[in-house]
Structure formats: structure tokens, C-alpha cells
Symmetry: C2
Subunit: 183 residues, 2 copies
């Protein structure tokens, strides 16, 4: 069972400093629709700043219960999968309560080089049991070292045609879900 999370802290900025990034409206829209298409049980947006979480909830409420829910029913359906949390620990606790098991965490990054599992290996792992897994995507210039070190698994990066590895996180989530879930 695969959950996904979009991490806004701790992540790196362009100068390599650990920062909190802002929640982008389009990340909620595009990734919730992906989560719905690929049949995921939940999509978590993680941000420690209360004002950021409040703003994200306002957007979500518009599409779940406000005018957006009647204007666009398919968007409502997708938004029902989104939850906003303050920390990765909160997400793990919620999944553990739902499933009876703490999820195994899997980090993704364009820069991972060693000790990675392949897309195919993750596909097989997901099919082999009914345990929860949490696939974590970063924002800014990527997930901070402490999160990578504490993760249970690292997923192999998407390699482009050349050396260019600067996909939008929205694109990376689309490609990774398609390669891992093979629907």
C-alpha cells in the first residue's frame, strides 16, 4: 500500500541551506489527481508553518466543499486524498493508526547514487505484502540529509537523456508513480 508525501521541511534551497519551502497550489492539484488516477490511499503535504497549512486547507476546502466541489466533481474526488500535516512524524503516526503498522519510508532525489532500490524492486515489494509504504518527494533543491539517512529505502533517480536532471517535482511524481505502479 503506497502513500506519498511532499516535504516542505527540511529541504534544501539553491544555496544548499536547510529551509522551509512554500506550498504551491499546483502541487496540490496535479499530485492529488495523480494519486487518484493511480489509486493511492493518501497524499500528504508536509509543512511546519501554520499559516502555510491554513492557506492549503482553504484551497482544499474550496474544491471539497465550496464552489469548486460543484463546478468540478473530478477535482473534488482528487482533493479528498489530500491531507496537510506539520511533520513527517505526524504522517507516519497517522498511517500507523490507520494500518496497524508504521510505514516504511522511501526517499526520492535526483542526486541519489548509492544504495538505491530500483523502480522494479519497489513494484515487487508493494505487490508482495499489504504493509504501508510512504514515498517522500522533496521541494526546493531536494530533501535534507537527515531525512535521507533516516529513511528505510532510497529510490533510484530518474535519469534523463543527458546530464540534465531538473524536473519539476510534479513531473517526477508522475514518472515515478507510473514506473513503480505500472498500471
Amino acid at each position: 500500500m503506497l502513500y506519498i508525501a511532499l516535504l516542505h521541511y527540511p529541504v534544501y534551497n539553491k544555496e544548499g541551506k536547510v529551509v522551509t519551502t512554500a506550498i504551491a497550489n499546483m502541487d496540490i492539484h496535479d499530485i492529488s489527481r495523480l494519486a487518484r488516477t493511480y489509486g493511492l490511499p493518501g497524499y500528504y503535504v508536509i509543512n511546519p508553518v501554520p499559516a502555510q497549512r491554513d492557506l492549503a486547507w482553504e484551497i482544499i476546502d474550496h474544491w471539497r466543499q465550496g464552489y469548486g466541489a460543484t463546478y468540478n466533481k473530478s477535482r473534488k474526488e482528487a482533493f479528498e486524498l489530500v491531507k496537510i500535516k506539520a511533520s513527517l512524524d505526524e504522517v507516519k503516526e497517522e498511517i500507523a493508526k490507520q494500518c496497524g503498522h508504521t510505514p516504511k519510508t522511501i526517499v526520492t532525489s535526483a542526486n541519489l547514487k548509492e544504495g538505491c532500490i530500483t523502480f522494479d524492486a519497489l513494484n515487487i515489494m508493494l505487490k508482495s505484502n499489504n504493509l504501508p509504504y510512504l514515498l517522500i518527494f522533496g521541494t526546493g533543491s531536494g530533501i535534507a540529509d537527515e531525512v535521507i539517512k533516516n529513511a528505510d529505502y532510497r529510490l533510484e533517480p530518474i535519469k534523463g537523456d543527458g546530464k540534465y536532471n531538473h524536473l519539476a517535482v510534479r513531473s517526477a511524481v508522475a514518472i515515478v508513480l507510473d514506473r513503480v505502479l505500472k498500471i
Copy 2:
């Protein structure tokens, strides 16, 4: 040789009427980065409204030559692939001039049912010759019938886990390029 185009006219709105959609900033960013990652020779944004094209060129200039070009070099590299055109015919003419052959057109849509080529078939076709192909993605609620009827090929749709088929065009481009180019 695969070019891609994002069509803003003629496309359908939610009521099934043929309309012109607006160019979304994020469509330029995300899809140009995808085009660069997958080694495509060009990404065309098609819109018949001059004010829309002017605005898109302003955004592109910022990242190609303005402050954006020094702030983020990887974005500059991606934006060099983007061209804004008024019509599909203009795009086909430009590719024909560059390549010596008019491109074969391939339409994509979540609703195509009959007469589609598979992702694998397109992969093999692209590898088997050096001719230009133009893969067309729609905006709004999809490409208008006249464009679908006049296309040389139709590409099979992305099928989700269930009946939900409402991906963002940005997500659809990511998944289709990954399935077709298999890098």
C-alpha cells in the same frame, strides 16, 4: 525525432464547446524541463491570440535572457526549447523547414478509444527512422474533433487504476514521454 506541441485552440471547454484556452505559466516551465530531460528537439506552445503569445514570450525572455537566466541556468537551458506559434500549421511548416519533411502528427486524449497506436508501437516507430513526428497534447477538456480527424496517428490513452481519467496535462506529458521514449 519527436517534437511536442501544447494546443490552446481548437480545444474543448467543460461544456464541449470549441474555445481558446489561456497559456498557463506552469505549462511552459514543467513541460520545457521535461522536453530537455527527454532530449527533445523542440516544444511548441500554440495559441492564436496575439496577447497570449506576447505574454508567453515575456515569461520566456525572463528565463532566457533576463534576470532568470543568471538566477537559474537549468531553467534557461529548458526554455531554449520553447517556441510560441499561432497555429498547428505554422508549427508543421517550421518543422518541415528544419527537417526537410512535414512531421507526422500524433494526437493524445484521455477519451480516445479506436484506432490508437500503443506507446510501444510509437517507441519502435521513432527508433526505426529519423523522420519528424509531432505529438500533440490538448488543454481545457481536450483536443477538438477536427484536429483528431486530421492527425496521422492517435496515441492510446493513459488508463488509471479505476475509471478516473483527469490528469493535469503536465502529468500526462510526463507519463507519455516516459512510456514512449523509455530513457
